[in-house]
């Protein structure tokens, strides 16, 4: 094609021969396609520079049979394509890449907030119209009930009819749409009785108005429509509010980076990185993609991926994995090995996001119940309408009244809305705390499984080394000044700890002949003395300490050992609180570790829990398997098997990438405090669900009986039913809000305890 040639030459863009077929596989394409418009795909497009490009893109519509229409927005670099029914997205995207444009599909979540706001807008208009009409109908109605002269009564009914028309033909459209969609799928829908009541009541009223009798229900119809639209508006606004702020992928996206472009480094976005890009990042930034060190080596905190406690030195040319945090004084230069989407951390996060925006199996169950409930109510109403008048020998109009009231009052809206609402509130609440839960089923499992395994190193201990004193010898002020002067030049994290510890001694001495042997130690000439700091082995100590995870450094002057400095991997702050809380809830706690049993006994004594030491990874796995059902909380490689075996696996911060792949829960805050909060959240979900299901069942039952007995009319029913939906929304909001307040204070107290550790760097994501 002539056009293709021109563009390829003109723009000289790399036409990547990527495989787009995943866009045609429903499961994988799911996150990119919206359920309401499965033929639409939104892409980010690069390379569109002029109106000529737009013309060229638009010319595809005729050439690619799978493409129905295409919209380019040059300003924000977006491309919207619509495929013909039965067409394949892959064919279209391939054609576009062949034209030389780089495209990236955007997940529908990325623009769902705008879609959602359009939905809220439409519903708001419908609600406003219904409310205005309802208000005026009620004014007329009240006068009629108050005893209007007969001649005016007819006039008022006719005016009510005029006012009810906008509701029937505009406000109710969303209900009709739901029913039509459900009928197409041949499924019952909770809106069916509502539409039956709204349309049936209106038609009956018009008929009666023409007949001249006064069984008119316009007020009930208007009230029902308004309150229902109101409660749905409330629900939708809530969803919009809670879900719009959920962009987990920001965890790695939007890292502050500088991208090399046209001869200089400029501020850029990590999600735009592609293979081969050069970029720079500063201290404490999480590496968004797998990348190769280009200019210099640097220290990298691998705790998120490997669970290792100490930052590792990477040399120039080595490849650093995404998710590792750069620990360096200056900006470090990398070359990207691929895009953000290729990393396993990102894939895990996407999985979690998909879950939040999809429905869990419990939600689907509640949906099912609501559907059958709907069918039952409609049958019962038909019975009341057709049989009751003859059976109890009551007026046919009274029969209509009662069945209308029954239909209205027992609509299972609360049942259908409550469960998904609570679960999404719980998932979102968990997210806000820093817990990524893969599936809402986890909540149910966490409630029922009472055996919890905890790994020790990295899970119960901080995985951070803090200076805790001299294991041997002490240093004079002069010696400390020399030590600090030397350590200040080192990039090693333990060196930073010391510099922070003895901050008042900074800058007192100058160093000559400084030499750093990465991973081994540093040396230099100070005050004419050959000073050296290096690793020290525990076995050389006079009294070896039993404290696990302690690191030793030795300080020498002229090869004369002056002191041994000790750094300890402390237990996380909240172990005590978490264990006692879990035990109160009836959980059995078992600590498993590859560490020596002797190093675990102090845990056993301190927390009164079972400990298992000296375990190989396979033995850990065996132990978890024998104690199923169980929950496993772990981080490292050695927990991999055990976590795979457990019914619920929780990966704490600092977990390795393999664990992230199948962990049900990923905790992104230091400590295990959130494990307990997650368990509490799980219990709260159940408590709220029971409260709400019980409430709506009793409510519907009582009101249903009253309606059949004729104690409440259609108008009262129209008032009472949506009130139950609103009550349910309120109960779940209040229930969850109470909970999240506790969370916030908990996290704050945790953060306050962290600062000295963040200086050290390992593990703490601020």
């Amino acid at each position: 094609m002539q056009i293709n040639m021109d563009i390829n030459m003109e723009h000289n863009l790399e036409a990547s021969a990527s495989d787009w077929t995943y866009l045609d596989r429903p499961v994988e394409a799911n996150i990119y396609l919206s359920s309401t418009a499965p033929d639409l795909l939104l892409l980010r497009i690069e390379g569109v520079k002029c109106s000529g490009c737009i013309r060229n893109l638009e010319s595809l519509v005729g050439h690619v049979s799978d493409l129905q229409s295409l919209e380019v927005s040059m300003g924000d670099g977006l491309l919207k394509i619509k495929k013909s029914s039965g067409g394949h997205f892959s064919k279209i995207t391939e054609a576009i890449t062949q034209l030389g444009y780089r495209i990236t599909p955007l997940s529908h979540k990325d623009f769902s907030s705008s879609v959602r706001s359009a939905e809220v807008k439409a519903l708001r208009s419908r609600f406003a119209v219904a409310a205005a009409c309802m208000g005026n109908i009620m004014l007329l109605s009240v006068s009629i009930y108050a005893g209007m002269p007969k001649s005016y009564e007819q006039v008022f009914h006719w005016i009510s009819l005029i006012l009810v028309l906008p509701i029937l033909f505009y406000s109710n459209l969303s209900f009709y749409q739901n029913i039509v969609d459900a009928l197409k799928r041949r499924e019952p829908h909770i809106d069916m009785p509502i539409v039956l009541a709204l349309v049936g009541g209106s038609l009956l009223s018009i008929f009666n108005l023409l007949q001249g009798n006064n069984h008119i229900y316009f007020d009930s119809v208007a009230m029902l429509a308004t309150l229902l639209l109101g409660s749905r508006l409330l629900l939708l606004s809530l969803q919009k509010k809670f879900l719009s702020s959920q962009h987990l992928s920001q965890f790695v996206k939007n890292q502050p980076i500088q991208v090399y472009h046209q001869g200089q480094y400029r501020k850029g976005f990590s999600d735009d990185l592609k293979k081969g890009d050069l970029f720079k990042i500063g201290h404490g930034v999480t590496l968004p993609v797998d990348a190769q060190l280009v200019e210099t080596g640097c220290f990298v905190d691998p705790s998120l991926l490997t669970g290792e406690t100490l930052p590792k030195w990477y040399d120039k040319g080595e490849i650093v994995q995404a998710g590792m945090k750069v620990k360096s004084k200056a900006f470090t230069c990398f070359q990207a090995m691929g895009a953000i989407q290729d990393t396993s951390l990102y894939k895990y996060i996407l999985d979690v996001e998909k879950q939040i925006h999809g429905k869990s199996s419990i939600v689907k169950l509640a949906d099912k119940i609501a559907k059958y409930f709907t069918l039952g109510i409609m049958t019962l109403s038909a019975f009341v309408l057709l049989v009751l008048p003859f059976w109890l020998s009551i007026d046919i109009y009274e029969g209509i009244n009662r069945s209308l009231a029954l239909i209205i009052v027992s609509c299972p809206c609360a049942l259908a809305f409550a469960t998904p609402l609570i679960e999404s509130l719980a998932l979102v609440g968990a997210n806000r705390m820093g817990i990524f839960v893969k599936s809402a089923n986890v909540f149910e499992k966490l409630r029922n499984i009472k055996t919890m395994f905890f790994d020790k190193t990295g899970t119960l201990t901080q995985g951070n080394h803090a200076f805790c004193g001299f294991a041997e010898g002490t240093l004079s002020n002069q010696q400390i000044e020399r030590l600090v002067a030397l350590e200040q030049l080192s990039q090693h994290p333990l060196a930073r700890t010391l510099v922070n510890e003895f901050a008042s001694s900074i800058g007192k001495k100058s160093v000559q002949n400084f030499y750093e042997n990465h991973g081994e130690g540093v040396s230099g000439l100070i005050d004419g003395l050959e000073c050296k700091i290096s690793k020290y082995d525990k076995k050389f100590l006079a009294e070896p300490s039993a404290e696990n995870g302690s690191q030793l450094s030795a300080y020498y002057e002229n090869d004369d050992l002056k002191a041994v400095l000790q750094f300890v991997d402390n237990a996380v702050e909240d172990v005590d609180e978490v264990f006692s809380g879990l035990k109160q809830l009836g959980y059995k706690i078992k600590i498993i570790s590859g560490d020596q049993e002797a190093n675990l006994t102090y845990l056993q004594n301190k927390y009164a829990v079972e400990v298992f030491g000296d375990l190989k990874p396979s033995e850990k796995q065996q132990l978890v398997r024998n104690n199923r059902p169980s929950v496993m909380v772990g981080d490292g490689f050695n927990d991999l098997g055990a976590m795979g075996e457990a019914d619920v696996s929780v990966a704490v911060q600092g977990s390795i990438a393999e664990n992230l792949k199948f962990a049900d829960v990923f905790i992104d805050k230091p400590g295990i405090g959130l494990v307990f909060q997650l368990v509490r959240l799980a219990h709260q979900v159940k408590k709220l669900t029971i409260i709400i299901l019980g409430f709506s069942l009793i409510y519907n039952l009582v009101l249903g009986v009253l309606a059949v007995m004729g104690a409440i009319g259609p108008l009262a029913a129209a008032l009472l039913m949506p009130l139950s939906s609103i009550a349910v929304v309120m109960i779940s909001l209040v229930g969850m809000r109470n909970f999240s307040l506790v969370q916030r204070s908990h996290i704050e107290s945790q953060n306050r305890a962290i600062p000295p550790v963040t200086l050290l760097g390992t593990g703490a994501v601020s």
């Binding site: 807008k121 406003a128 205005a132 005026n136 005016y152 006012l163």
Partner: protein
């Protein structure tokens, strides 16, 4: 009481006016952000 035949159409006009104003505001994104300062 015949005044009601004048008043009711007036009310309906008033209602229509306010609903129209609301829908205009809604369609012009006046309710999209109720938090940040205008």
């Amino acid at each position: 009481m015949t005044i009601i035949y004048l008043m009711i159409p007036c009310t309906l006009l008033l209602v229509g006016g306010f609903v129209a104003a609301f829908i205009w505001a809604n369609n012009n994104d006046q309710f999209e952000d109720l938090v940040t300062p205008a």
